[in-house]
Structure formats: C-alpha cells, structure tokens
C-alpha cells in the first residue's frame, strides 16, 4: 500500500504586479503531478529552485490546499482529514529560521512535544533520545540564537521526530550547510530510512538524491519529467556525449542556435568568474564540436573540451528539456 499518494496535484498562486496599475497574475507552481511512495521508501523530489518541490510538500503536510487533484497520506486525505495527517507526519525544512531564537533547544522541543501531544511522562526520555540522535546533547540548554546553522538544522530534525511520525517530509534539509554538516545530516537521514520511516526528501543536489533515495522523481517547472531509481535515471542519459565550451559573454540567440543543431539534446550555461561554460549534451556517436563552434559567431570562445556525461548532466538534461 502506498503511504503517500499524489494524484494530478496542481497548485496555482495568484499574485499582483505593478504599483499603480495593479495586474493580477496566476503562477502555476505545480502542474498536475502524480506519484506514490511506498512504506519504508525514501523518495526524492529532485529539481531546481522554483520547480515546485516545496509547494508539493506543503500540500502534503496540509499547509496548502491543492488547486485541483488530490493527495493522501497513510490513507488520509490532506484536505478533508488534515488533523489526521498532521498527527502522522513530521516536517523538516532547511534554513536558519523556523525555531524560537530566545528559547533553548530543550524548550523548543518541549513546546512542540506539547503541540504534538507527546504525553508528559514520555517527553523527557523522548527529547533526550532525540538530542542524542542529532548530536545536541550537552548544548540543549543554550539559547538557539547562539547556534550554528548546522545545529539549528539538527534541531529542526529533532523537532520533526518528536512524535515519532511514520512519515517524514524533509524539504531541502542540507541547504546552506557546510560539507561536513551536510554529510552528517545525510547519514542521519539514511539512519532514519533504515529505521523504517517513509521519507519524502526534496533537494536540488543530484548526488544527494542519488546517495540517499530508493526512487527519484525529477520535477521541473511544476511537472515531473522523469521518475525511477537512480540507476534508471542514469541509464536514460548514459549514452551520449558532452561538449564544454568556455566563452566570455554569450547571448541567448546564440544558445538558441546551438539548441537547433541536429543531435543536440540540451544546452546549459554555468557561470565561471569572468567567463561562462556552455555545456552541450549531444547524442552518442555524434561529433558536433565543429558544428557548434561554427554557430557561435560573435562569441569570444576559450577552452573547448568533450567528455562522457555524468549524473549531473543527466539531471541538467532532464531539467533543461522541460
């Protein structure tokens, strides 16, 4: 049985632009996505900023009502049975905010333990276990305002686990962490998955999704563009070639000309200090370097190289094609 079920989930935001002549604008953040997460599975929603990952999670944890479509968590509808869903899910999001700065970690956890209805006699043991799990034992009585970003993030995790939820939603939990902190957090997520929790993780780091997730859905511009195990996703673009061209200033019109070259799958630009790196993914067996360079009139070209595609390229290709 699927623990999380999303069916044709759609969310539109209404906003206004302009100061004097105000104009209403509709933004489609999530455009009819469907997926299922099985019990004990660690499912990754992978996508760039603004792809709709957080909006999807917010609908699943009942903070947002879908514009259309439906979603169920452990069989409970996220709109009609919001209270039932809230009792059964934990929610962790990335970033420094979202905790009470003037309180200690201990009081932050005590407060949310009350809100999640953890019985008083169980709170002390539960909080001590969680502080130990996230490595905050010994620092729990300090005010959170003095915590590092990593410590705050670990406190977020502890808070999300207070009521021992069977389902966890982790929204970019490693964002902004230093490499060591991010690695520790990933290890913690892996431990939680091993303990049998069903986890939905959003991230825009391909390697993170690859190392942690049983299955991944790549989301871009509000739509799922690929779904499968990390191996299946890699397989989809394993055959092919990548040409990297260093340029010093490039216009969109030139990029469009590159995209039009037969055999080109995707074109992306990475900023590199003074220069840009144009990454062109091509079909396998095609030598397109000369064809590409001939369409770059007017651009100052530097180093040109070609290589086999990586997992990162797979992700860029999927997102770029959407």
């Amino acid at each position: 049985m699927a623990v999380i079920e999303a069916s044709e989930l759609r969310r539109t935001y209404r906003t206004t632009t302009g100061t004097i002549r105000r104009r209403r604008v509709e933004v489609e953040a999530v455009r009819g996505i469907s997926f299922e997460v099985a019990e004990g599975e660690l499912f990754g929603l992978l996508g760039p900023n603004g792809a709709g990952k957080t909006t999807t999670i917010k609908m699943l944890i009942t903070l947002l009502v879908p514009t259309s479509g439906s979603a169920r968590v452990l069989g409970h509808d996220v709109v009609r049975e919001a209270g039932e869903v809230r009792r059964r899910v934990g929610y962790v999001f990335g970033g420094e905010r979202g905790v009470y700065e003037r309180l200690s970690a201990l009081d932050n956890l005590r407060y949310f333990a009350e809100l999640y209805g953890v019985p008083g006699r169980e709170q002390k043991t539960r909080i001590a276990e969680l502080l130990d799990l996230v490595g905050l034992t010994g620092r729990e009585k300090e005010r959170v305002e003095g915590y590092s970003r990593g410590m705050r993030q670990r406190l977020h995790i502890a808070r999300g686990l207070l009521h021992d939820p069977p389902v966890l939603f982790l929204d970019e939990p490693t964002i902004g962490l230093d490499p060591v902190g991010a690695r520790e957090l990933r290890a913690m997520i892996a431990t939680l998955a091993e303990s049998g929790k069903t986890i939905l993780l959003t991230t825009h780091y391909m390697f993170e999704a690859d190392s942690l997730c049983d299955r991944i859905a790549v989301i871009a511009k509000g739509k799922i563009v690929a779904e499968g195990t990390p191996q299946q996703l890699k397989g989809g673009v394993a055959e092919g070639w990548v040409v990297e061209i260093e340029v010093y200033g490039i216009e969109d019109v030139v990029l469009d000309r590159l995209r039009a070259v037969p055999g080109v799958r995707a074109v992306a630009v990475e900023e590199r200090d003074q220069a840009q790196l144009v990454v062109v993914q091509t079909d396998s067996g095609q030598e397109l370097t000369h064809a590409l360079l001939s369409r770059m009139d007017g651009a100052a070209v530097g180093r040109v190289s070609s290589r086999e595609p990586t997992l990162e390229d797979a992700y860029v290709a999927l997102v770029g094609e959407s």
Binding site: K58, V65, R86, Y91, R97, D107, L115, Y116, G117
Partner: protein, 261 residues
C-alpha cells in the same frame, strides 16, 4: 489532558519564546517605565487644565494600561510567529487551536495585572490618589476582567495577523483607539453620540467606569452590571476572534498567505 497542557504549559513557553520584554532590561522600561510616564503625563495635564482630579486619570490610565500587554501581546502571537517563520511548523501541528492561542493569553493577562497594580501604586505614591482597603478586592476583579476583555480584543488583532502582513501598526491603532475612546482621559459625555456608541462597544469602557466608582467608595454590587458587561464584551471579542482565526487559517491554506512576510 493534551489540550490543557497546550493551554497552560504551551502558553507559558510561547510567552517566553515570543516576547522581548521577558528580560528585565526590556520589561522595566516597556511594562513599567512607559506606564509611569503615561500616568504622570495625563495627571499633570489634568492638573494644569483643572478639568479633573488626579484620581480620574490614575484610575483611567491604570486600567487602560492592563490592555497594553494584552493587545500588543496577542498581536505578536501571530505577527511574531510570522517574523520568526515559526508559523508553518506551528500550524502543521495537530494542536487544538483554541488551547494553543488562548493559552498564550494567560501570561499576558497576568502581565496586564502587574502593570495595572504598578500604575495604581504610582498614583498613590506620586499623585493625589487614595484607595480604601475594602475597595481593593472589587477593583482587582474589575482590572482582571478588563485585562481579559482587552486580551480578547488583542486576539482579534492577532487573528487579522493571519491575513495581514504586518499587524503591529494595527495593534498601535487599537491601543490608541482604546486610549482615546474608552473614557481613559476624556469623559464619555464629552464625545459626540456616534463616538460614545462606539466606546460602549469597546472593551475597557465599562471596566474603567466601574473602577472609578469603586475607587470613589462604591461596593461591587453597585457596579456589577458594568463588570458583567465588560466580561460579556470580552467574551464576544474572544469568540469573534477565534472564529476569524479559524476562517483565516483555512483561507490562508487556500490563498497561500500563511507565510507571506
């Protein structure tokens, strides 16, 4: 039992989490310093103009000051959560909303009482204000019910905070409206009819009227109708605020306004 714990323990922890004035360096100037100067300011204006005696201003301002913590505090229960970005994790919990937000009012009511007692003390110590010992219990009851009513009024401001990006300007508006219209420093009969009608629908008005009569020697039985009216107004605002809160929470989930800064 869970709701009771959320109400009492949750309310206490939230109070510590959200309010600057917990620290003496904030509490003393905010909750005691400002009230001291407010009472002296209006009492000396009264003396200068010769319109009313000190007791009129001491009682009016001492009762009104109990509203300050209630209105600002309850406005902050939502505005502060929005600012610290804790509103999402809070609303993602299954906690009973009535216990969650009403529990936050208890420390604020106690706070209002402390400020009020201090203000009466200032009046007795620095101004020409006397209070008979037998008047203290009914006066305390009246101040308590006024603080409850003002906190309920503050909850209304807080509920609007679920929709409005910034409720602090609204809290300022509410506090100064109460200061102007509830007979704190200006007798109600000095207002035009429409203003007096509004005054009668606001918290504080009946509390202050009752407090003045008790301070002048009346017994509780003489002012019990004012006491119950004040309480009724508080209950009305509290119920209205809660209904509005639930509406804005549900609507915020539809309109995605719960996290706008």
């Amino acid at each position: 039992m869970t709701h009771v714990r959320v109400f009492f323990i949750g309310g206490y922890i939230a109070y510590r989490a959200l309010f600057n004035w917990m620290h003496p360096s904030y509490y003393i100037p905010t909750m005691l310093g400002a009230p001291l100067f407010q009472i002296l300011f209006f009492a000396y204006i009264g003396r200068y103009t010769g319109l009313k005696d000190d007791a009129f201003f001491v009682v009016g301002n001492a009762v009104q000051l109990s509203a300050m913590a209630g209105v600002y505090g309850m406005a902050m229960t939502i505005g502060g959560e929005r600012w610290t970005q804790t509103l999402s994790p809070l609303l993602a919990t299954p906690a009973n909303r009535l216990a969650l937000f009403l529990g936050r009012s208890l420390p604020l009511i106690a706070n209002g009482m402390v400020t009020s007692v201090f203000a009466f003390g200032v009046g007795w110590w620095l101004l020409d204000f006397e209070l008979a010992a037998e008047s203290i219990p009914p006066l305390a009851a009246i101040v308590l019910v006024s603080a409850v009513a003002c906190t309920a009024f503050g909850l209304l401001v807080g509920a609007i905070g679920l929709r409005a990006r910034d409720v602090f300007f609204l809290a300022n508006l509410a506090v100064f409206s109460l200061l102007l219209m509830c007979g704190v420093n200006i007798p109600l009969d000095a207002f035009p009819g429409w203003m007096e009608a509004i005054s009668r629908a606001l918290p504080l008005t009946h509390g202050i009227e009752a407090a003045r009569e008790v301070a002048a020697g009346a017994g509780f039985a003489d002012v019990d109708h004012l006491f119950w009216t004040e309480l009724g107004i508080g209950v009305f605002y509290g119920a209205f605020a809660y209904a509005l809160f639930r509406f804005f929470e549900a609507d915020g989930r539809k309109r995605a306004t719960l996290e706008t800064m």
